[in-house]
Subunit: 162 residues, 2 copies
């Protein structure tokens, strides 16, 4: 007796598989993030959001405006304000006026901030590499490329409607 699933059942099964995928993705993300957060905290008295800001600034030679920062990091404008406030307090970044636009602010790494970040970043890469050690280079690339589709697929297309 051959098993035949109709369209609805097939769609339902795919939907359940995708849900499981989402749960796993979330679980993996939480596991890794918890580990990184813990190490940043205990070994450097820092946090992931701070690290993310420094990382974005490090990639950009000339510094970034508040809104560019919030775009790159995909977090809200108001959020960035608070994190940058704290980074300014401990001297890792500076806010400087943008000439030609008195509304805007450019945020840049200080020299201290830059060298501080370099140290952090090297460790961070090792931590991540350790946490994903079950994947070799090839597998990691393959997975990364597949996950890319999630972010690059535009908004609402491919809606299932169950």
């Amino acid at each position: 007796m051959t098993m035949v699933r109709d369209k609805a059942t097939t769609a339902g099964a795919a939907s359940k598989a995708r849900l499981r995928l989402w749960i796993r993705l979330l679980k993996a993300q939480r596991r890794v993030e918890a580990e990184l957060r813990e190490r940043l905290r205990t070994e450097y008295g820092s946090t992931l959001p701070r690290f993310d800001v420094l990382s974005a600034l490090h990639r950009s030679k000339a510094g970034l405006r508040m809104s560019e920062l919030s775009d790159v990091l995909m977090v809200s404008n108001g959020n960035v304000t608070g994190i940058v406030d704290r980074l300014v307090e401990d001297g890792t970044v500076v806010r400087e006026p943008v000439d030609g636009d008195r509304r805007a602010m450019r945020v840049r790494l200080t020299d201290t901030g830059r060298s501080h970040f370099r140290e952090l970043a090297a460790e961070h890469e090792d931590w991540v590499s350790g946490l994903f050690a079950m994947f070799d280079e090839c597998e990691a690339e393959e997975l990364a490329s597949k996950l890319h589709a999630v972010t690059e697929t535009s908004g609402r297309e491919g809606e299932t409607g169950k």
Copy 2:
């Protein structure tokens, strides 16, 4: 001229590939989470953490203790307290004493909460399925199974040391 990479270079490349994988994973997670959060908020006036708690309670017929809840969800004890407080306020869950242990509290869905959650869960599955529509059932399962390794691999083994 054949390209030959020594051990260190190979390890470095794998490390970089894993780092890219992590960035992609994080980006995908944020993208999906932002979408789900937004829809829960605008269409149901709810939040992801609330949904997660309801989901865990729904799976468990008899309800869960606060600490079981915080284990399942992988969030801190104190965190659960606050979320459950709010769920109690709007009548979706109840806290009841555990007999035999006056320290513990069992949290359970109310009837309202249960039917409320069922509605949410169906929508949620559709949303997720839509967001992962680029993967068919088979691919979704394959990816999920690979990601499983991240969570199931015990703590510190496979450290790279770059």
